[in-house]
Symmetry: C2
Subunit: 178 residues, 2 copies
């Protein structure tokens, strides 16, 4: 289970846009992000493009151009950002394509795996969904306590899910075809 570089750096770039914009009140340029993150300008360009296509930032061209958050940092959830930059743990597409001829999962482990990935994704989503960009802008200490608070909330949600027979396990999954 790995993060793509687009997820890792895309999120960092977005955080920098939020951070730099909030102090300078100016649009944040690719050059600035490149400098503070230690990435090439061209590379940052790609990440920031993904962020723009995802609707997280607005761009302004020209001499005083740059990027701004499209919404307040409190209204951007890290989950949405990561989903846009890197996709889900598994794609639902596989489910449809192969279910016709054979019914459920061809592979005879009966897809216990899909239940597993599903609950992993469910758990992670629940956590990330409660974390906003704004939460990540304070110091690392503050954010750490924020994380544990959210994790606590998450647990309660998870217990409710358990009592109601667990929608987190209801999704379909088929593995990629080689």
């Amino acid at each position: 289970m790995k993060l793509s570089t687009q997820e890792e750096y895309g999120l960092r770039c977005l955080l920098q846009i939020a951070r730099l914009e909030s102090t300078s009140k100016q649009p944040v340029t690719i050059g600035e992000i490149s400098r503070v993150e230690g990435l090439s300008v061209a590379n940052v360009g790609k990440f920031v493009r993904a962020l723009r296509l995802g609707g997280f930032v607005d761009s302004e061209r020209g001499h005083t151009g740059g990027y701004r958050l499209a919404r307040p940092a409190t209204e951007i959830s890290v989950r949405d950002v990561l989903d846009t930059l890197g996709g889900k743990l598994f794609d639902a597409e596989f489910c449809e394509e192969h279910s016709g001829a054979i019914g459920a999962c061809t592979h005879s482990v009966e897809c216990s795996v899909r239940s597993l990935w599903n609950s992993v994704q469910f758990l992670v989503d629940r956590l990330l969904n409660q974390i906003s960009l704004h939460d990540m802008l304070g110091g690392e200490r503050e954010f750490a306590s924020c994380l544990t608070e959210r994790a606590e909330g998450l647990l309660q949600v998870a217990e409710v899910e358990r009592d109601s027979a667990g929608p987190s396990l209801a999704h379909e999954h088929h593995p990629p075809t080689p």
Copy 2:
């Protein structure tokens, strides 16, 4: 956040070895796994090799050869398997390499991200660590209830962690260098 094919299929192969061995009492051949999982023989060979190097299966050569679980299915945790097949969410290596010249994270977001990845990994690890191969061998229904039970336990552990200032957030992380 994606699973590598080695994680996805390696785990499936291991499950098949456990399943087929338990019914036939014979070593499970690559050919059998290949058939039930719909993968090429050569490909299964690679996955199974990783499993052997990870110490999860033992091999026997020759006419009646094949693979057997190295330990009972109840004593193999899915977390260990996935860690071996795909590695951690982030590697600790980066932390050491770049900390000398600059101190903490160069990248000026102050590495709130590392706290984030850390807690995600912590959460996932806690869940997977409680799931054994054996848990995944029953029907999907049984496994689903197993998962929710384990998730419940996980929550309690997480709360303990919170009360003791959260070791889950204590680890270092630096992003890959481009």
